[in-house]
Structure formats: C-alpha cells, structure tokens
C-alpha cells in the first residue's frame, strides 16, 4: 500500500517542543476576561426587564387596585380620576376582532401548506409570512387606514373604530399564526398523517382525527403569541382606532372607537401631568401582567405538549 510506504520512510520521531506555561496561563486569563464580559453583557441586557417592572410598580403601585381596573377614566385632564376600564374592554374588542379574522386564516393556510402544498408553494408562502412579520407596524397602520378607516375613496369606510383597528391587528396576527401552525404540523412525525391516509381516510378526516390533535399545542402557541404581540401594539391603532375614553357604542363609525391599554399609556405619557404619568406606569403594570400571563400560558402549553405528545 502506498500510504504504508510513506509512513515507513519517516521513521524519525517528532521533535518535542517545550510546554509554554506562561502562554497557557495568559490564555486562561483571557478566557476569564471573556467569561466576565459575557456575564456583564447578560446582566446589562437583563437589567431593563427588572428595572422596567420595578419602575412601573414603584411609580404606579398606589393605583394597582380593583377600582383602577373596574372604573372608567374621568376628571380633568381626562384620566386624572377613575381607572382604565375603557382600555381593558377595548383590548378585549380588539383581540376578539383580530382573532376572528386571523385565527381561521392562519390555521387554514397552515393546514393547506402541510396537506396540499408543493415544495415551492410552501417556500414561497413561508417567505411571504416572514416578510409580513417583518413589515413595521406603523406601515400596517397606514394600510389599515386606507383599507378600513378612511371615509374617502376606496375602502370599507369603517371610520376610526374597533373593527378597523381589530382587522388591522388581524393583518399583523395572521402570519404569526400561519407560520406556527405550519411549523407545528411539520413537527408531527410523518408516519402519523401518512398512516391515516393509507388507511383510506380523506385528508379532511386525517385533519380531524390526527393533525388537529397532534398540532394543537403548536397552534395555540401561535394564537397566544399573536395575541401577545397585538395587545402591545400602538402604532397601527393611531390611524385606525385611536382612542376612546368611554365605552364604544358600536364597532364601526362614530362611537365605534375603543380604548386600548397601549394607546392609553402612549397618550397619558404625552400629557404634561404628573398624575397621568403615574397612571401610565400603573397601566403599564397591568399590560405587562397580561403579557406575562399569556407568556406563562405559552410555556405551560409547550411544557405539556412536550410531556404528553
């Protein structure tokens, strides 16, 4: 064998080189510095999470009671007295409307991709969803304005209203649900679905009996992530719903606008009023509570799915 001949030719042993202890010591020192810097980066990065919560609670704690949540804002400037009930009710309106639009669309398109989609359609739609997620929310706001709110030209002429705001938020929510549904279905072991189909089930039966059950955790994750995202949105609502200090009388046209927590915070912090700033922080605590509660739900679903499926 050629290789063996080569080896035998080089019989002389390799020269030994000395151990450079100083160098190794220096290297360990550098590694220590790297650890220190990485830890510092993490501490500084994690700092706002705690400081934001701390600051909001420290400033807003006196309003963190049931009355604040259960009464409408009153007084002058509006909100100086009373609570944030308008915003909480408004958020419910917006989330419900957005979900009615986005949940069927997102799940439907996710199902199509994994049941009927060809590879190229899938790649294309996936990219499309990712692009939609990347579009800045203020741009969605302008789109929503021209599609739903404007009273001139083409569009639905809903005015500044819960329906216009909710559907715009639905636009933002749809790609999130679609992506996560597709991901959840793709994660089902392929034997499951093919097994059902091989037994003569139609794809509709396979969906009912296998897919929905196996992908339920992932689909719920998508919906909750979507809700978590839209209840924090402010920019899209600026041009589609704005704000209402009272209760809505409908969901379109005059009186159709609703309050919204993120919007309330945004408006209060703009006012040159100390009390409104404090209330903005108290409202921030409420908003963060909603978001972290959803977050907790998400993690619970993830945990349960991993454990039982």
């Amino acid at each position: 064998m050629a290789e063996l001949a080569n080896i035998k030719k080089d019989d002389d042993p390799m020269p030994v080189f000395p151990i450079n202890r100083g160098y190794i010591k220096r290297k360990k020192f550098y590694n220590g510095i790297a650890v220190f810097l990485a830890v510092m980066a993490f501490i500084i990065g994690a700092f706002p999470v705690f400081h934001i919560i701390y600051k909001a609670v420290a400033l807003g704690h006196e309003y963190l009671n049931w009355r604040f949540i259960s009464t409408l804002p009153t007084g002058f400037p509006i909100g100086a007295q009373g609570g944030i009930l308008n915003a909480i009710i408004g958020d419910v309106y917006l989330v419900v409307i957005a979900s009615i639009f986005a949940v069927p669309l997102g799940i439907g398109s996710g199902l199509y991709l994994s049941l009927f989609g060809k590879k190229r359609t899938n790649t294309f739609l996936r990219l499309l969803n990712e692009l939609m997620i990347g579009i800045p929310s203020v741009v969605w706001g302008i789109v929503g304005f021209y599609v739903f709110s404007t009273n001139a030209g083409l569009g639905f002429h809903f005015g500044f209203s819960a329906l216009a705001g909710g559907l715009t938020l639905g636009f933002i929510m749809t790609p999130i649900i679609a992506l996560l549904t597709e991901q959840a279905i793709n994660r089902i072991p392929s034997g499951y679905i093919e097994g059902a189909l091989a037994m003569g089930a139609t794809k509709w039966q396979a969906t009912k009996s296998v897919i929905i059950k196996a992908a339920l955790g992932g689909i719920f994750t998508g919906i909750l992530l979507g809700i978590m995202n839209i209840i924090g949105q402010t920019a899209p609502l600026l041009f589609t719903n704005y704000y209402n200090t009272g209760m809505p009388t409908g969901i379109t046209g005059p009186g159709g606008a609703v309050g919204d927590l993120a919007m309330l915070i945004f408006i209060y912090i703009h006012e040159p009023s100390k009390i409104l700033h404090v209330k903005a922080e108290a409202a921030s605590v409420v908003l963060l509570c909603f978001i972290f509660a959803i977050d907790l739900g998400l993690r619970l679903i993830n945990y349960l799915t991993r454990k039982f499926l």
Partner: protein, 314 residues
C-alpha cells in the same frame, strides 16, 4: 369513492381560499402603499430622498432629515446592541451553567415581549433623566470640543436616548439568533478542540464562531429591520424636531416618528398624505429587502427555526 374524493376537493378548495386571503393581505398592503404614494413619487421623483425641507403648506417634501434621523438611530442602536447580544448569546450557549440556562433564556425572551410603548415610557422616566442629569453634563464638561459629542440642549431627549432604548429592543432578536447559531455548531467539533487542550475561548474563537457567523449576520440583519421600523418608543424619546442631527445628543426625527405624529393630519391634503405614504414606502421597501436577505441566511444556518424573540411587542 367518488364521494370521498369530492369531499377532499371541497376541503382543498376551502383551504386554498384561506391561503389566497393570506397572500392577498400581503398584496393589499403593498398595493395600498404603492397606490397612495404614487402621486408624490411622480411629483417629486428622486429629489424626495435628498431634499432637506419638509414643508406641508408650501408642498415641498424632502425626506432627507428623517432618513438621516432613522439612519442614525438604527446605526447607533445596532452599535450598542451587537456587542451585548454577542456576549449574551455566547454566555447563554457556552458559559452559562446548564441549570441556569433555561431561566436566563426566559429573561431575555421576556425582554422581547415588552411592548414598545412600555419601553418608551421607561425611556422617558429613566433614560432621559439619566442622560440629562449625568451623561450630558459629563460630556459637556469634557468633550464639548468634539462636534459629534457636543451637547446642544441639555434636555435628555434625542438621538442617544432613542438609540439606547431601541438597542434594548433589538437585543433579544440578535442574541437569541446568536445563541441558536452557536447551538447548531456540532458538539463533536467543539470536543475536538477541547481535547487538544483548547480553552473555552479558543473553542469559541476558532470553532464555534466560524460555524455560527452566518447565522449571527442573519440576526443582525433582522435586528436592523426591527430598528428601522421602530416607532412608538422613538416618538417618545427622539425629540421630534426636523433637523439633521449632527451630534449624538441632538434631537431629531425618524421616518416612523413622523408618520406616527403627523399622518392623521396629513390625510387632509392629498399630496401631503401621498408624501407621507412615500415615507412608509421607504420603510416597507427596506423591511422587505432586509427580511428577504436575513431569512435566506437564517434558513441556511438554523433551518428557518422560528424563535419567539423574533416577534416583538410592536
């Protein structure tokens, strides 16, 4: 038999309507922005991009001021966020003890879940006073001769305040993608280096980073996309004055902030509205390009796995 097939055809038909609706949401968004910006594009052409003056009553619209502000905030935010994200990703994946990695990752993901407006309020009540009372006086005393570090008005609001807060907002995106990219480095390759007597730092430098670098670029690109479009926190912090910022401490204006502040008034005049939609078109185009490039890179490196830190709180 016919019946079964017929049912599946119906099912497919219904689902394809959903798919077409999703596609049409995207097309509507692009079409609306193009349609309403068209008058301004025709009227102002490319001069829109380099004219400084933005004067609605005189119908003179140039976006240079806002482009400059957007660029500065984005650039500075990335400058602040990249080294920290890098450190966080490396910390979580390479140095952090296993039993703490889960909880620490959750903390960074929580940062991603905090809404933009809450960040903005935090900036107004924490970062702005800190800049006004500590940082700006310090720079004013020691660096006032350097134009880029000159403190013009000691108010705390401005480019720097906005950049710091936006940096925190894009931190989770970049650091979680850095972490995922490092996670995708084959363990056996790292073991090979360790078995030769390499330190952790050697392994990171010579094995992990070369593998993970593309993914990290992808993360930076996505972070860039997020920073460019960030609106509410910036509106609250940047000072909202249409001047081209010359210093780190100047006030300024970004495209997104102009839209948030003035679009509702602009719709009264068609050409004013059109100019504003053209601003949105710039944001849209940048975000589409950025995401096509960034996703392509990420799909190759971490298989398009979707990380939840990539959806922000708006």
């Amino acid at each position: 038999m016919f019946n079964l097939k017929y049912k599946d055809d119906l099912y497919k038909f219904i689902l394809s309507i959903f798919v077409l609706s999703v596609i049409s949401v995207f097309l509507i968004a692009v079409a609306v922005i193009l349609f309403y910006s068209y008058p301004a594009i025709i009227r102002y052409g490319f001069s829109f991009l380099w004219v400084k003056e933005w004067n609605p009553p005189k119908e003179v619209f140039g976006a240079l001021t806002f482009l400059a502000g957007t660029f500065m905030v984005t650039f500075l935010a990335l400058l602040f966020a990249i080294p920290f994200s890098f450190g966080i990703g490396i910390f979580l994946q390479e140095y952090c003890p296993l039993f703490l990695r889960g909880i620490f990752t959750v903390i960074i993901e929580m940062l991603a879940g905090i809404p933009s407006v809450v960040f903005g309020v935090w900036g107004v009540l924490t970062i702005v006073p800190w800049l006004r009372e500590s940082v700006e006086p310090f720079f004013d005393r020691h660096f006032s001769s350097i134009p880029f570090l000159k403190v013009e008005e000691n108010i705390g609001y401005g480019i720097l305040a906005a950049s710091i807060v936006v940096a925190f907002m894009i931190l989770p995106i970049i650091s979680s993608i850095t972490k995922d990219s490092l996670e995708s480095v084959p363990k056996i390759a790292k073991d090979g280096a360790l078995a030769m007597g390499a330190t952790r730092l050697d392994v990171i430098k010579d094995v992990s980073l070369p593998y993970a670098l593309n993914g990290i670029y992808g993360g930076i690109i996505l972070g860039f996309g997020r920073a460019v479009g960030e609106t509410i926190a910036v509106v609250l912090l940047i000072g909202n004055q249409a001047i081209v910022p010359k210093s780190l401490f100047s006030v300024g204006y970004t495209i997104s902030a102009v839209l948030a502040n003035t679009f509702t008034f602009a719709v009264i005049s068609p050409i004013y509205a059109s100019a504003e939609v053209e601003l949105a078109l710039i944001l849209l185009a940048v975000s589409l390009i950025i995401n096509i490039v960034g996703r392509n890179i990420l799909n190759k490196v971490i298989g398009g796995r979707f990380n939840r830190s990539q959806f922000g709180g708006g």
